[in-house]
Symmetry: C2
């Protein structure tokens, strides 16, 4: 598939990486970015990542065959609505939001039946933000979750699947709710735990933080505003995951009443064995 | 300083890396390993990491100028005692254990005054185990904590400082208790949290674990037996750190009573901002 025009709304790390990969794989004749005027966006044009950019949605999506919405999650539903309103009827509109249920539910209530939309989430990223950190190989062999609904155009999921496969990714279909419960455990809860570990470290102990601490807390360098919006949209599933984490940690504390002042070593041994088995199964 | 003989008791990732760095920096004319016969240890000799190995402590330490004990933490105090008993009086004995208070306290009670011992802990490592993963640059510009006590020989800390600086490391002196409280927050608690995140992930969601989950849980691939012993030895400080983590996470849960089923977004925003500030201060 080679399309005429790909529009990317929100050219940050993910949007920029889509542009680079689409360019490198000759997926679109023309790639247009949409976003507020910025040094990085202008440089992205100068350097050939984008053919053009607009600070308004309408002129960009009017000519697009595919629109990928890469804004923060709390803006995605509104941007998709506006994109569908201005785009041709056969233009595929999809997104890359880290949450799906709130976004898709909102669009089910507001988009006409048969609209060519499907929710998406590439499981790839970085704690860094901005198109200057875009990576042409970000999606290679990564998993992209699509969350189709019967209400929308039947071919949207097939076209989005082809789009991501052409960028080197693998595609898996899930319901928005199953997606959100899964990423609560694989991404949102780990983010919260990493943030808590980072936040409670006193400044005077920073010099003692070695590679283990750096790895464990790396994601805490992510943008707080982006992540607050993600955790807010997925709060039920994240709260449930957080209670699971709390239960696992509480089993490590011995004693019948607060304050715990000792560890339960048998539970810790079991936890570490189970943790290693799971972690080894992932590979490095 | 070039010594005649360096003895390394426990030739795993850390002990092997000491051997490689000492060899590369011509720190010792002869490097002897001590440990149970193994394929990896024999290969380490064949490949020149070690000049010889013994499965008994006595013959190795008898000729050593410096003995570095790199066994699991629950064996360190006994190995140090035996090493001091068999070594010359001026032989420096030190260790690399991830905990210090239990080990040093035990040795204060059992070693003669003026014994040439100082506790140590290089803040470097990996989730992998064994001399096959040794790294000649593991200690370059890393911090090594030394925990001297007046009871032991006054020159032990100076000699250990020179030893580690010659391997490329920086040295910081702390009390055993301050060390243990610090690493509870920088290493032991992050390990426990990473293990809990890994342990609660159902197998069917593994394919959804991307780079964020992999980073956050990497240390959970470490050896459960080694880490159980570390957490057991430092259990008071780890339990205290765990209660701090629990308090930070509980503030993320809204609602006056169990079960929480929602997030407190204002607390989460504050936590993420503080976490990013701390994490950014560490650098990548």
């Amino acid at each position: 598939m080679t399309m005429r025009t790909l529009a990317i709304v929100g050219v940050g790390l993910i949007g920029g990486s889509i542009a680079l990969a689409a360019r490198s794989r000759r997926l679109a004749k023309r790639i247009i970015g949409v976003g507020p005027r910025s040094f990085h966006l202008e440089r992205a044009c100068q350097q050939g990542m984008l053919d053009a950019w607009h600070d308004q949605l309408e002129p960009a999506v009017r000519e697009a065959d595919v629109v990928v919405v890469c804004t923060p999650v709390d803006q995605i539903a509104n941007v998709v609505l506006e994109a569908v309103a201005h785009a041709r009827q056969d233009t595929l509109v999809t997104d890359v939001g880290s949450t799906k249920a709130v976004i898709v539910k909102s669009l089910l209530a507001q988009l006409r039946q048969g609209s060519c939309f499907v929710g998406g989430h590439p499981l790839a990223g970085s704690e860094r933000s901005g198109p200057q950190f875009a990576d042409v190989r970000l999606f290679e062999n990564r998993l992209v979750i699509l969350t189709p609904e019967d209400w929308f155009a039947a071919n949207a999921v097939d076209r989005a699947t082809a789009f991501w496969q052409n960028l080197g990714a693998r595609v898996k279909v899930m319901t928005p709710e199953a997606h959100d419960r899964a990423v609560a455990l694989t991404s949102h809860l780990p983010h919260l735990a990493a943030a808590a570990l980072s936040a409670i470290l006193p400044a005077e102990l920073r010099e003692l933080a070695a590679s283990g601490f750096r790895d464990t807390t790396r994601v805490a360098g992510g943008d707080p505003a982006l992540w607050t919006a993600i955790l807010q949209q997925n709060q039920k599933a994240v709260a449930d995951a957080l209670l699971q984490l709390r239960a696992a940690l509480d089993r490590c504390l011995a004693g019948d009443m607060l304050p715990f002042d000792d560890l339960d070593i048998n539970h810790i041994r079991d936890l570490l064995i189970e943790a290693k088995r799971n972690r080894d199964a992932l590979g490095s």
